[in-house]
């Protein structure tokens, strides 16, 4: 009896395929090879090359060769108070933004997780923000925040409140934009989780006269927790990388996130080696945080 491999690899003689010399296996490989080549060229090679440059004094703007300097870049970065300030600002931003996204996204999911008229249309409209380009979002939110003619101040009756010019408020303003843009993502995952909660649990709770808070904290949240954790992991990783809308909205030092500092170091100052080292520090931090989240995720799943 022919196996799948036989069918895939066997060529009937006197066929066009036989004349071309291309078997199904070859065609399959031809489809995969470009993708693998792309990954190697644009992912693997840059990763390894930047690891090398992280230990050199290389500057791409000069023709001077890269000299090995060991851990000097890492030492300089970790002893630079401005870099620690960037990390602090980013951590604050991540906490505010992700917390906001979870609260708003999960709240929206709870509201939508019931039969309501036009539910499909409402859900689609709520998903629109995350489909927009972050740069475009930054540009029009800058107009919305304008103290002279922005509609946010107008509708909230805030007069000429300066969202982006006030260094104490600017970071919150940027985080609000991120929450607006990515809450739909959390909402989507939460909806999936909520719809998977067995209805009979709610019925049983109702029979036992369980209140809404009890039902939420003892049934809904524990069962939705794993998928919520996945949403938090993704959003935390993305929040750490925030660049587009933050760069456009504000150039305040109090909103200089890691990605913005990295961009300036790499492409304005052309400190290629130093910025590679910085990128690896950020990578290690993100991987560490993700590992912590995954541990909690596994615990939640086990429960």
């Amino acid at each position: 009896m022919d196996t799948v491999a036989d069918v895939m690899t066997r060529l009937e003689p006197n066929t066009r395929a036989a004349a071309r010399g291309l078997s199904d296996l070859s065609i399959r490989n031809l489809f995969i090879i470009p993708t693998i080549a792309f990954l190697i060229v644009f992912n693997v090679f840059p990763l390894l090359y930047s690891l090398y440059t992280a230990f050199t004094d290389y500057r791409a703007s000069t023709s001077a060769p890269a000299n090995w300097i060991g851990l000097a870049n890492f030492r300089d970065l970790l002893s630079d108070p401005f870099i620690w300030r960037n990390f602090t600002i980013t951590a604050k931003y991540v906490i505010i933004s992700v917390t906001g996204q979870v609260l708003v996204g999960f709240g929206l999911a709870m509201l939508l997780n019931r039969p309501i008229p036009l539910k499909g249309l409402i859900t689609t409209l709520l998903l629109l923000p995350m489909m927009l380009s972050p740069a475009v979002v930054g540009l029009f939110w800058k107009l919305l925040y304008d103290p002279s003619f922005g509609i946010i101040n107008y509708f909230l009756g805030l007069g000429k409140f300066e969202w982006l010019a006030d260094p104490q408020v600017a970071l919150y303003a940027v985080a609000i934009v991120d929450i607006w843009m990515w809450s739909p993502f959390v909402m989507l995952l939460s909806l999936a989780g909520l719809s998977a909660v067995p209805k009979h649990l709610y019925e049983a709770a109702e029979i036992d006269r369980a209140g809404p808070f009890y039902t939420f904290f003892r049934i809904t949240l524990p069962l939705v927790a794993p998928i919520l954790m996945i949403a938090i992991i993704f959003r935390t990783m993305e929040a750490f990388k925030t660049f587009d809308h933050a760069y456009i909205l504000s150039t305040q030092p109090t909103t200089e996130l890691i990605a913005i500092r990295l961009y300036k170091m790499a492409f304005l100052e052309w400190q290629t080696g130093m910025s590679s080292a910085f990128a690896y520090i950020v990578l290690i931090v993100v991987v560490a945080i993700t590992n912590i989240y995954v541990k909690y995720l596994n615990k939640a799943k086990a429960r």
């Binding site: 000069t62 300066e162 150039t251 305040q252």
Partner: protein
């Protein structure tokens, strides 16, 4: 089938390889996206008409100009034959071998005598006083001021100003007067504000703005030949200049925390501010009724003097350099020979470009050509620039990081800011071996 495919590929390759030989000579000049680049395109169309060589002025927004240019340089790309690069790039681009040495061209054509001295010093020569040249001064520019003549000439305003300050309301001749007038016209309840200044810290906007105050108060950014910064950048004069700029920020419209040439022109076109700083290159839009409803009542003046009579303005402008990786260097040199001709420079000025050609600048015809040309002419003989060393971007980043929170956020004092910046710049110069 395979043989047909190979034949097709060979044919395509043959066409691709022969295409350049079949096309006429072309040159590409890279510049930032602004009006002077449009004027240059109009000018080079005349070169094409004369010589048959097509010259294209390719542009990109100012915020991306440096990144895009240096990305191409670092890749040793030949996309651009010439570049109208920023004056601060001279050091970085020349030391890295991105620019063709134009010293021989400069000396052969006596450009040191033909072009305005400040433009030769800042747009073309690196290192300072070395006699080595890397660019031909192309677009002279500096910071000037526009103002609402109707507000200044209103009899009621003039009377009120005289009563409050004890002298006549007129175009400010000193920074003290500039601050007084900004304070006088600052009326948030009427949606009128005193002044518009640069605060954008994403590139050099804020620092160029601060330079106008710092230089005119007698301060400096350091000694460009010895790299000494201590006692110069944080001198009493520099501190006073920075404090003056901070005072002006208090009279700007709300939300004026990331502003550059677009916003500062809007301050006049939208009737927001009494006075606005901007590079002269952006003033044509202010005298055009189509772009400025207040064009008829917009006037211009040069940067005022400081308390000790010093009068300087931040230099803008660029020189045109030949890119080392260009495959058309010979043709590029021919273009430059055409560009430096007196009749071409006159034509450049007519089209709106700010010629650096001294004779054209000094002519009555040029000085009377527009309402701002006289101020421009005066300014071009009192300009100073930022550091043009290869590590200028790091100096700029440090300056933005220290100065911005003080100007916009009111954090710290001017002395603390300049002391900290002095330390930062010393570290940077030590890192690159400029000082011990």
């Amino acid at each position: 089938m395979q043989r047909q495919l190979y034949r097709l590929m060979a044919g395509v390759a043959a066409i691709a390889l022969s295409a350049p030989a079949a096309m006429s000579q072309e040159l590409t000049i890279f510049w930032a996206e602004w009006d002077p680049a449009n004027y240059l395109q109009e000018l080079v169309n005349e070169y094409e008409a004369e010589t048959g060589v097509t010259v294209t002025v390719e542009t990109t927004p100012w915020q991306d100009f440096q990144t895009k240019a240096f990305t191409e340089f670092n890749a040793r790309g030949s996309a651009y034959d010439m570049i109208v690069g920023d004056s601060q790039w001279l050091g970085a681009a020349s030391e890295a071998g991105h620019y063709v040495d134009l010293t021989e061209f400069f000396n052969t054509h006596k450009l040191g005598e033909i072009m305005a001295p400040a433009t030769v010093k800042y747009y073309a020569e690196y290192p300072g006083n070395s006699g080595k040249y890397w660019a031909v001064p192309a677009e002279g520019d500096a910071v000037g001021w526009s103002y609402r003549k109707d507000w200044f000439e209103d009899p009621a305003e003039m009377a009120a100003f005289k009563e409050k300050y004890g002298y006549d309301l007129a175009v400010p001749e000193t920074w003290a007067q500039l601050i007084d007038i900004a304070e006088f016209f600052h009326r948030p309840d009427q949606n009128r504000y005193g002044i518009a200044i640069y605060t954008d810290n994403s590139y050099d906007g804020l620092i160029m703005g601060v330079e106008n105050a710092l230089f005119s108060y007698g301060g400096n950014l350091g000694d460009y030949s010895t790299y000494q910064v201590d006692g110069i950048l944080n001198s009493d004069a520099s501190i006073a200049g920075l404090e003056a700029y901070r005072k002006l920020y208090g009279f700007t419209p709300p939300g004026w925390s990331k502003t550059f040439f677009v916003e500062n022109n809007q301050a006049i076109t939208e009737g927001l501010a009494a006075m606005s700083m901007n590079y002269f290159a952006f003033f044509p839009a202010l005298v055009n009724p189509a772009t400025n409803p207040n064009a008829e009542v917009t006037g211009f003046f040069a940067n005022p003097k400081g308390p000790n009579g010093d009068q300087f303005a931040a230099l803008g402008g660029q020189g045109i350099s030949i890119v080392s990786y260009s495959e058309n260097q010979e043709e590029a040199f021919k273009f430059l020979e055409w560009f430096i001709k007196e009749e071409t420079q006159k034509r450049w000025a007519e089209l709106g470009g700010y010629t650096a050609h001294a004779a054209t600048l000094e002519s009555e015809e040029f000085r009377k050509a527009t309402p701002y040309n006289e101020a421009f002419y005066q300014t071009m003989f009192m300009v100073k620039d930022f550091w043009a060393v290869p590590e200028y971007a790091e100096l700029l980043t440090a300056a933005n990081a220290r100065i911005y929170p003080y100007i916009v956020g009111g954090e710290g004092t001017a002395k603390e800011v300049l002391d900290a910046l002095t330390a930062d710049w010393n570290e940077t110069f030590k890192k690159y071996g400029r000082i011990q």
